[in-house]
Symmetry: C2
Subunit: 238 residues, 2 copies
């Protein structure tokens, strides 16, 4: 937790928040702070600044909050990702959020096991929680929009064209196309397949939707490795 | 397992291997193959090619092996990494191996909890196993060299200068220096701190050893995210 993310409901009066639970524990255990000290805070979907501790007990902490500057810029990237296995899903959502992606579509694909869609980790609250962890890690406040689409064909045919309109459309596909471009600085929609990749039919449908297959050379990487690799390659922080 | 990695001891005669256990299970379950079919294989620390199934039973599989081409090139990168927490260590070793790093030093640091050094995951066999998983994933055969150093100062003062001699020396440090360079194509030694970063004394020692602090902007990333980000940024596959 590099940033304490505040919600509107934390405010007990103008400029004053009261926190308990996980954020209180964090403040007590990790910071070993005392009244008067300043911690970095940010308002969910709002600005970042400092909170000065005014009261600290075992039950709650109160902070006088001053928000001063905007969160780090969002990436101009929409990610269309075949639903990863539940074990990986949590980490992937945290990675995606920490990297600054603001729109993620979790999509079905032939090689996504049906059982993956049953995981409790796809619950609204659980996804929100993983996003929050990603924001706290990366000192960001803007919650990404995460959309679940259980049917590949209707999504790619009916929704994707509008969603990806005006953006560069890339399909990360280990065995086809040319090397993924570097440092493109363009609004982009990036599709990433499941373990084993999209099947030829799916690749064809994505190509029909204007997606251009790109690869990263002979190494085949797991989705949780390839995600930061691709994001860093397309949009190196500068 | 995108590549079946063979060991010298798997050979029962010239060009013929017999596999059981995990690799047999993989072949049966994932490939649903039959005699005559070809699978991609590679010899540990050797070349890559195909294995043609000659015999397949519940107990073992025999493959006629032809090795034709070298594994993907290694990165000209030595990684000096503060020992991550055990839960993350496994994944980090797999990431590092899959990305093509061939030398990794796991180093102590003030913010590395002492208990992390007690984890069974640091055992020779366990590390070897995680590396193997990384090689199988990335279709590589060259085992990385992983070195454990439990004392920061003697390592940085006495070993690191020789280890990093002639290379570009970068220290990933979220709060100092300039942006990490992009696509440097130079032999590099990269130091990455623990959660919370190296302490000022450690940063100073690394700077004395010629390391130049670089950062990635306002987002603070976990080591398992920052690793692929940095590798992809310094050495984009092309």
């Amino acid at each position: 937790m590099n940033l304490i993310v505040l919600q509107e409901t934390d405010f007990i009066s103008a400029g004053l928040v009261r926190l308990s639970g996980r954020r209180l524990e964090y403040i007590i255990q990790v910071h070993r702070v005392e009244p008067g000290q300043r911690l970095r805070v940010g308002l969910l979907n709002g600005d970042i600044g400092f909170g000065t501790i005014t009261t600290l007990t075992d039950q709650c902490v109160e902070l006088k909050v001053e928000l001063q500057y905007p969160p780090p810029p969002a990436l101009p990237l929409t990610l269309v990702l075949a639903l990863p296995r539940p074990k990986m899903l949590k980490r992937v959502i945290q990675h995606v959020t920490a990297l600054g992606v603001k729109k993620l579509i979790l999509l079905n694909s032939y090689r996504v096991e049906k059982s993956y869609w049953q995981t409790p980790w796809l619950g609204r609250d659980k996804i929100h929680r993983q996003c929050l962890l990603g924001l706290e890690q990366a000192m960001d406040t803007r919650m990404p929009d995460i959309i679940l689409r259980k049917r590949f064909k209707p999504f790619v045919e009916d929704e994707l064209p509008e969603l990806a309109a005006g953006s560069r459309k890339l399909l990360a596909h280990p065995v086809a196309g040319e090397y993924c471009p570097i440092d493109i600085g363009e609004t982009t929609t990036l599709a990433i397949g499941p373990e084993g990749g999209f099947i030829p039919y799916e690749v064809e449908k994505l190509q029909e939707a204007g997606f251009h297959p790109v690869h990263l050379g002979p190494r085949i990487l797991k989705v949780e490795t390839v995600l930061p690799v691709l994001v860093s390659r397309l949009f190196p922080a500068r």
